[in-house]
Amino acid sequence: MSGTYETKHAETGSAPTPLIEVTGLHKQFASGGRFRRSRRSVHAVDDLAIRIHAGETFALVGESGCGKSTTARLMLSLQQPTSGDIRYKGTPLSMMSEAERRDYRRRVQVVFQDSNSSLNPRKRLGTILTTALTVSGAVADARRAVARAHELMEDVGLSPSASFFDRYPHELSGGQRQRVGIARALAPEPELIIADEPVSALDISVRAQILQLLQRIQRERSVAYLFISHDLSVVRWVAHRVGVMYLGRLVETGPVESVFTRPVHPYTEVLINATPVADPERAQLRHVHVVSGDVPSTTERPSGCPFHPRCPLAVETCRSEVPELLPVGEAHAAACLRATERVEGLRLP
């Protein structure tokens, strides 16, 4: 989210230890049908590497089933990775003491797409927030928790807080519930908020309100976001850096500006082309290359480059060789065998 992050780093000029660093992350699920014959392993996250700095927004984009939420659950320690490493301020999770782990769980919070299903329907908003405050250890005593809960409500725009304190989640609109979800995530004073499709279920006018709120929170508290979305236009507005996922793998990553204006991976360009533009003068769907084929299933991962069956630029070697994520520009990397040609100007047909 614009502003603070870039300016801060432009001033210091150095690369500090990332807040979170994920390397070689894998998650496999033994899944498939009920019958042994059809049982296959699902490689939901495949050799993922992500780095997020304090105060920065890193977005993960990709189509459904590509592994975005699984990545979120692994980073939240809700699921254990099959292999790989998650470091928090340089310390691997696996090496942490119990106290350090508790601190990690406090500093990394989550906001879901549908706060309705993640809020306890039988608890009043005040109780939801005071519980989050005391359980995390953010405040010591109950009186302080009540005062802090009121402050948080005002902060996220549930104002006047007194009129919301005793309400139940079902007595709120979708946008208001999302504000509660955000207030609850803020309660333990997190350093990273993982927001999994936080505005996808909201109407346009409410979506703009919530995105503005997230931007303001970042300005005021320099919290980092892992912002998960399937909507590129939202990502374009809120993220500093972006990672494009396809079948569990990161296929392109870099600063939002360069990835969106100079995409190197054909899949990134296909996603950009497919995103409707709210300007009839620049309407593109009639003209651009629209990728054929379905969103692939993780149980039937193609050989070689996982994108090759749908890729308009695929050549013979793409069927056998797995492309690695390699630098293609300033902090910009792509996993495509034809990346060099693309950088030199090879266009989609």
Binding site: D203, A208, Q212, V277, A278, P280
Partner: protein, 339 residues
């Protein structure tokens, strides 16, 4: 279709609704999700109906078909003109015959209208039988001509023919939606109503489906009512657009002019909340509040509690649609008499 046929088909609206009012009896009193709505659907055009959830888009579509999700709903006023005939007051049998033969429907969740225990081919055939489809070769074996028609339809929506022997659960979301389109086209309808047809789909699949709908509409000169909450989709595919808010049309117009110069404060607010792919930085003005509860709609202009330009008059009188260069807009700011 020959150019002459295309020409004659594009002349008049295929369907027009005039002053439509729909009421639902609910525990919280009588609500009017459609309150005096007029729209027109010309052949060969894609007409968008856009609005946030609860603005009455789906209820308008249900009212045209007189097929409601609840028995508490009924059309309480206005006309639905299919050609010269008013559909309001038709018997359920007559409406059943019209739905599916003259008006095709495409829904957000394509699996909801597919029968899980019948093959795709059988389901489309049943529809052809029910409407005694006669578009095929007049003589010969009916069954054979139905089967041919099914293959033809599946091919035209980009599905392999063998999909006809498959069951719904064996298809992906995008494939199901293609079947939905094939089935809406089955009897060569004059109007297709598509209610959020791509909302549940991934963006690459949405692009495929929108392209398909644009192609079919062009080739068959069918009128298409496209209901969506996505202004991007409207800008990409529609010719004309109606903007709905709390059961009423607040603005309408040709897509290019409306996006170039939105007239109504609500339309302007919606557009400032749209995050374009080229934009970056801070999100523009976000209109406060949310869509009102229709059980207790605001008096006068229904947007007045959220409107940055509201005047005393706005809460007293509902503004009519004023003619504007780009179309029409229901706002007192356009009235010469407004002080």
């Amino acid at each position: 279709m020959s150019p002459a046929e295309l020409q004659s088909k594009t002349a008049h609206p295929v369907l027009a609704i005039e002053n439509l009012v729909t009421e639902i009896r609910s525990v919280r009193g009588l609500i009017r999700p459609v309150d005096g709505v007029s729209m027109s659907f010309p052949a060969g055009k894609i007409v968008g109906v856009v609005g946030e959830s609860g603005s009455g888009k789906s209820m308008t579509a249900f009212s045209i078909m007189q097929l409601f999700p609840t028995s508490a709903a009924r059309v309480a006023g206005g006309r639905v003109l299919l050609g010269e005939t008013d559909l309001i007051g038709r018997s359920p049998e007559q409406m059943r015959a019209i739905r599916g033969s003259r008006i095709g429907m495409i829904f957000q969740d394509p699996t909801s209208f597919l029968n899980p225990v019948l093959t795709i081919g059988r389901q489309i055939e049943q529809q052809l039988e029910a409407h005694r489809w006669t578009g095929g070769p007049p003589a010969g074996d009916r069954g054979q001509s139905y089967a041919n028609r099914v293959s033809e339809l599946l091919t035209s929506v980009g599905l392999p023919r063998d999909v006809s022997t498959r069951y719904p659960h064996q298809l992906s979301g995008g494939q199901c939606q293609r079947v939905g389109i094939a089935s809406a086209l089955a009897c060569d309808p004059d109007l297709i109503i598509a209610d959020e047809p791509t909302t549940a789909l991934d963006v690459t699949i949405q692009a495929q489906i929108l392209r398909l709908m644009m192609r079919l509409q062009r080739e068959r000169a069918v009128a298409l009512m496209l209901i969506t909450h996505d202004l991007g989709v409207v800008a990409e595919v529609c010719d004309y657009v109606y903007v709905m808010y709390a059961g009423r049309i607040v603005e309408e117009g040709d897509v290019r002019s409306l996006f170039a110069a939105p007239q109504h404060p609500y339309t302007r607010a919606l557009m400032s909340g749209v995050l374009s792919l080229t934009g970056t930085g801070n999100i523009g003005f976000a209109v406060p509040g949310s869509v009102p509860d229709l059980a207790a709609p605001p008096s006068g202009c229904r947007f007045h509690p959220r409107c940055p330009h509201a005047m005393p008059r706005c809460s007293q009188e509902a503004p009519p649609l004023f003619d504007r260069p780009s179309g029409r807009s229901a706002c007192w700011l356009h009235d010469e008499a407004t002080p």
